[in-house]
């Protein structure tokens, strides 16, 4: 695969005395989809927030497209080419769907390109086109999730960080969403880092996967190799797979 677009080494994030992440290392090749799996409290969301600049790492390096971005504020990170779809959508509920999408293009100045992307997203998510003038707060949960992802894509990121995109989505919608993400990867070379509870769904499209437990990477490898039934069942039931350092062979 291509050269790494994102390399993380020795990343440590603390909430006061508590280390939520320690010694996390990742290599993400351009155009790949990496699924980050793990039980509740394993540090998945913390990892995403640290990469997005919402949290400032205590230690470690984050290099994106050859440039160190650790500790940059979120408004600089998005300009570097990383968009973050936060947990729980966080839309602007009083703005219309269209205005929310335009807010996503805040860092861009190419009006024609923005309109083109808007049209493309509305064809991919027809409901966003149909409800363009409605306040985002009136959309259903699933539609809001679609809008949150579409809004992040409006910034034309090279790397998309998604936090639990399938949460609250009907299974059919969740599959549709993942197919769309996969298409973006194939057509635009988008790189994706996705945190998921639904491991089977995520591993279905991911190239790579890593498993976090207790703030550390406990397994990392090609997604297929992590698709082992026993392994996934293990942590979906909440067992801590700590101690397993090698991905199980298929």
């Amino acid at each position: 695969m291509a050269e790494a677009i994102l390399s993380v080494a020795g990343l440590e994030v603390r909430y006061g005395a508590l280390a939520a992440l320690s010694a996390v290392g990742l290599e993400l090749p351009e155009g790949a989809i990496l699924a980050v799996l793990g039980a509740n409290g394993a540090g998945k969301t913390t990892l995403l927030r640290a990469l997005a600049g919402v949290l400032v790492p205590a230690r470690g390096t984050v290099v994106f497209r050859g440039r160190s971005i650790a500790g940059l504020p979120p408004e600089r990170i998005v300009r570097a080419g990383i968009s973050h779809v936060p947990e729980g959508r966080e839309l602007f509920p009083l703005l219309s769907v269209r205005e929310n999408l335009l807010m996503g293009a805040w860092i861009r100045r190419d009006a024609a390109g923005i309109e083109r992307d808007l049209a493309r997203l509305c064809s991919e998510f027809p409901v966003l086109g149909e409800r363009a003038r409605q306040p985002a707060g009136r959309l259903s949960g699933g539609e809001q999730q679609m809008l949150a992802i579409a809004r992040a894509l409006m910034a034309r990121p090279r790397l998309l960080l998604m936090d639990e995109p399938s949460l609250g989505l009907a299974p059919r919608l969740a599959r549709e969403l993942f197919r769309m993400i996969d298409r973006r990867r194939r057509e635009d070379g988008l790189t994706v880092l996705v945190v998921e509870q639904n491991a089977r769904l995520a591993l279905g499209i991911a190239d790579l996967a890593c498993v976090l437990a207790g703030g550390r990477v406990v397994a990392q490898g090609p997604a297929r190799s992590l698709l082992g039934e026993e392994f996934i069942r293990g942590f979906r039931l909440g067992d801590n797979p700590a101690g397993r350092t090698q991905a199980p062979e298929p």
Binding site: V54, S83, F92, I107
Partner: protein, 336 residues
């Protein structure tokens, strides 16, 4: 259609007010216009950016003193009023600095401290402000013409108020306005989209203080005599009450709130004659009433008078069917 008719009727009434109203009532209407200007500024900050200020009386004071001092030095009104706005905006940008790190109650305390400092400066800088003895302010002289009559000053206030409301409406439609509401509704996601929250918060503080400073220039002429205690914490709270009762996050709420702020003391004067003597002579009735209305607003009509108006209007249109409450504006509560 009905909307246009209503707007035309309102404009006609406002323009004809000097013919219809006695001098005293016209003076109250000028006060409403001045509060609309200050309220437009405060609404931008509190209602649309989600920041709080308990120090806006100080910006009003900075504007009032700048106007009084500049006029006494012979500067023409357009220049002195602009200076009032600019100086207050400068103070606003400075006061906005803590807003980059503080939120909610802590920001309220920081702005409150600024209010106390400003009053202290007005009182101690005697060479410039006349200290606690205060300063008399002469009527406005506009392009060589002295606005000595009540109606002349009223038209000036009306023009500035209309200008302030247009400026607010235009700002809210601009990218800057969208950035401010985005910061209010979801600050972290807004930053993740590339919005420089620190920059826009500072801009919001500066613009808000600037509008309030211009209101202060008119206020100085309206009351004719300024002294430090006129700009204390009580006035800051009144200004905040105004926009809360009017309806946070609505431009129309500024006008409703300003009318409320002027109408209540007048109603109280009338009511005093009807109340038993023991209560009527009680001091502090006005702040108590403001407090009561504020509590009732927060509890029962979080969108203020504007929300009440919208619901009454749509009830009238639909012939009795009461629509549900619109989604109330609420500062999003989330852990960092």
């Amino acid at each position: 259609m009905a909307r246009t008719a209503l707007a035309v009727a309102a404009a006609a009434l406002l323009l004809a007010a000097p013919l219809l109203l006695a001098e005293y009532s016209l003076a109250q209407l000028s006060f409403i216009c001045i509060y609309v200007v200050a309220g437009a500024g405060l609404m931008l900050l509190v209602g649309y950016t989600g920041q709080i200020s308990l120090g806006h009386a100080a910006f009003l004071g900075v504007g009032a003193y700048t106007e009084a001092i500049a006029q006494a030095r012979g500067l023409p009104f357009p220049v002195s009023a602009a200076a009032s706005g600019l100086l207050a905006a400068g103070c606003g940008a400075l006061v906005g600095l803590p807003a980059l790190r503080l939120k909610g109650i802590y920001l309220a305390i920081a702005t409150l401290a600024f209010g106390f400092i400003a009053v202290e400066v007005f009182a101690r800088w005697e060479a410039l402000t006349g200290g606690n003895a205060g300063m008399a302010v002469a009527p406005v002289v506009l392009f060589g013409h002295r606005l000595g009559e009540e109606w002349e000053f009223y038209y000036l206030c009306l023009a500035v108020a209309v200008g302030a409301m247009f400026a607010l409406a235009n700002l809210l439609r601009s990218p800057t306005g969208r950035a401010l509401t985005a910061i209010r509704d979801a600050e972290i996601p807004a930053r993740s989209l590339g919005i420089d929250a620190a920059h826009y918060k500072t801009v919001a503080f500066a613009l808000s203080a600037g509008a309030t400073g211009i209101a202060g220039a008119l206020y100085a002429h309206r009351i004719g005599f300024i002294s430090p205690e006129a700009f204390d914490i009580l006035l800051s709270i009144e200004l905040l009450t105004m926009i809360l009762v009017g309806g946070l996050g609505s431009a129309a709420g500024v006008v409703f709130g300003a009318a409320f702020l002027i109408a209540v003391p007048q109603a109280l004067i009338l009511a005093r004659e009807l109340l038993p003597e023991g209560i009527a002579r009680q001091s502090g009735l006005q702040p108590a009433l403001f407090g009561l209305v504020l509590v009732l607003t927060v509890l029962f009509e979080p969108e203020g008078l504007n929300g009440l108006w919208l619901r009454l209007r749509s009830r009238a249109r639909r012939g009795g069917a009461a629509p549900g409450r619109r989604r109330a504006y609420r500062k999003s509560e989330r852990t960092p």
